[in-house]
Symmetry: C2
Subunit: 506 residues, 2 copies
Amino acid sequence: MDYQTTVEKWGVWEVSCAGTAEGNPFTQQWIRAVFTGKSETVEADGFYDGDGIYKVRFMPSFTGEYRFCLRASFLEQEQEGSFWVTEPAADNHGPVRVANTWHFAYEDGVPYYSVGTTCYVWELQSDERIAQTLASLRESGFNKIRFCIFPKHYDYNLGEPRSYPYEGTPMDSGVLTRENFIQYTGKTQGNHWDFERFCTAHFAHIEACVEKLQGIGVEADLILMHPYDRWGFSQMNEAQDDLYIKYVVARFAAYRNVWWSLANEYDLMEHKSIRDWERYAAIICQKDPYRHLRSIHNCIAFYDHARPWVTHCSIQRQDLYKSAELVSEWRMRYRKPVVLDEIAYEGNIEHGWGNITGEEMVRRFWEAACRGGYPGHGETFLADDDVLWWSHGGVLHGESWKRVRFLLRILGETPGLGLAEKHRSWDEVCAVPESFTEAERTGYHLFYYSFMRPSFRKFYFDDVYAYRVEVIDTWNMTIEEAGVFTGSFRVELPGRQYMAVRVQKA
Amino acid sequence: MDYQTTVEKWGVWEVSCAGTAEGNPFTQQWIRAVFTGKSETVEADGFYDGDGIYKVRFMPSFTGEYRFCLRASFLEQEQEGSFWVTEPAADNHGPVRVANTWHFAYEDGVPYYSVGTTCYVWELQSDERIAQTLASLRESGFNKIRFCIFPKHYDYNLGEPRSYPYEGTPMDSGVLTRENFIQYTGKTQGNHWDFERFCTAHFAHIEACVEKLQGIGVEADLILMHPYDRWGFSQMNEAQDDLYIKYVVARFAAYRNVWWSLANEYDLMEHKSIRDWERYAAIICQKDPYRHLRSIHNCIAFYDHARPWVTHCSIQRQDLYKSAELVSEWRMRYRKPVVLDEIAYEGNIEHGWGNITGEEMVRRFWEAACRGGYPGHGETFLADDDVLWWSHGGVLHGESWKRVRFLLRILGETPGLGLAEKHRSWDEVCAVPESFTEAERTGYHLFYYSFMRPSFRKFYFDDVYAYRVEVIDTWNMTIEEAGVFTGSFRVELPGRQYMAVRVQKA
């Protein structure tokens, strides 16, 4: 038994334990431990990590001494030990939680304004590409990234991943071209996998990527299943699926920046039913001691986000024209945070989901944010090497990502936790603090004019307070003082698109 | 009795008749005539035109000899006469009719693709401004203009009109400012009108304007009532309203380019009920022998466009974001032509209905047109002299109007009469000829990509025919040959917004 004697709060503590490698340790053996500190008792399943080594991971939520008691099918008697949990490092705020009904905060109370991006299989690319992606993420403002544990088979994604989740061999992909790839979706002949033997290196590599994301303050929205498959990973049976879900939870749950996304486009997975999704969710709820955020993402039909296990809506827009504009409706319907995990991607590929302008992407970000929703980004620019950010990561080519960083700054300056839409005039979006107390105290209003080009706007709040007004150019990323006003006043605007006005009590 | 002995088909024939000027000729006298040609018998009401002169107008729909029989309250016996109807001039195609359920054609069968503009009271401006507006219209492609018979009181419209529809004196407008104008809406104190005595010069002037529009091929969409009033014209009683409607029909119906728009924003007219609108419509149906097009335009709630007297939907968009995109839904709902008489105006004023970009305006035009709807334009640019096209006419300052002319050219080249949306792929708008026979014969498809930027698109129609493909840049107004293809093919696109592809059998 080998384990750390100290770990920071919300860090990953791990114990390794030698056991048998005979038979199939993934299905025939088990290991788990109970952790007891002054303020919590937690039971966590461990997992087999190959070469006769078993591990249990734990994320402590409190400081001070913890004791643990470890049992395993291959151990004749339970093992005990203890370790010390230290204060978290300055950049460690704990896992992200739902806060204030429609918003998020880190467990230490620091607000978390989610602005995500999507790189479906960035972690299954070469080391160089992965390093490039991490550097791009560090420079950007994105604080969440969606990606898959399983490799992806789709347009612009015909190559083989760096590793597979199972022992075995894939079908011969030499016959694949951009013209015939669609025929291979759903056909899994030629693959030879043992769905009861995980390739531990595949998971260990993804864990390393999750840790690197944690190091740069990015949440890892782990997609457990998806339909874009030629290997058969979307067509396993119930027992195999459950084994997979449990294995993933045992390995990843101790990483504070993990979110569970049950699926990308669950409704395109024809071999899965609602019963299956509910069963996966039940396993996660039972096995994840830390209650990480849980969601499920649609292609066409929304999943019922009102289900108790769904912590937040993960939404792909249903309409070609309106997406972020519908956030207030969805917030009312589900009374949960609304995360827009696909509102089309900035780019120029042939598909309508991947060829909007940077301006339109940024507009959708502001439309969502000013309604108290959380927008997500992606890029799909044609490239000679077929490396598209949306799937492979790499370098950001678009115009929107810098403006997302600017939006994040604006969001970081809102009073209280989170924004909500206030209906004031039909031809603007008006955001106020979600908390009525904060709204009253600060008089904070953020007006957004989208594609409209007012040359001025008139305002009236009251005759009592003086209001400081700033004019924000959301595209050119400037903030200009417009003055301090009381009573009725008029604010001059440049008659351009994408302007905002921020008002606060002086 | 004084009358023309010849008139062209669909021209205005007129008879003048001296009568009494005593009492109130508008209410106490009447005049009407029955016209009989080989193919039609028409009864038309006349009107009092001041100075003891009464007139009856007639628009013949057939060539050859017509006889008429005139009666009036002030004539002891009926008068008779005849005149000759000649072939119409080359640019005279007759009145516009509904054709092919969702479209329009002139009575001679020439297709009419409506692309309108709005200048609410252009005809009540100075002679110089009116001449300027007519010159602008002639240069543009607009073939319909919406305007009001009553003057307009609204933001940027605080001046007095050149004339009033009634005898009397208006309130003192010297006290009006942009800040207080809203207080005068609904208040009519200080006006002194005789709502039973029309100012005939006001109407004669508007008729001259309608004739000038006719001369440049522009339909006059006459707005009979509207809520933007400080004179009390929106608050007359039933008898006064009915007198007005009858007077308007008697004066204007013989002009072939007249359309009846019962109201601009009927639902803001708080002194009128549905019963009133239905009564006005009944009067028009009864009194207009030529069955000119009839519609009624909303602010918020649509009128029930399914009403039998409504010939086409006159729609103001109900949603800030989606307007032209909903044309197919409205076509299905009402099974009538869908005319979008307000989808926001190109400009930079403070109001959201008047500050979209030229690009967005043109995008809405194409979204509407490719669904077989008929979009309308307007301009609201701030100007030192407060002359805004949307109300006053004058000079066009925007970027969209030239592109409307280009769209009209494309529409003029469609086979058959009118386009309809074909559902092919979710990320495009695909227009085909409304007529299945024409669609089959020509293989015509018009694909529009809106704000999307595909770098190429793939097509397949069949393995039999060769298709000629053109790439259309709807903003830069270019049409480029892309080649002739059979079977599956790929068309290269520039990866810019606002592109279209036109396909036809070679």
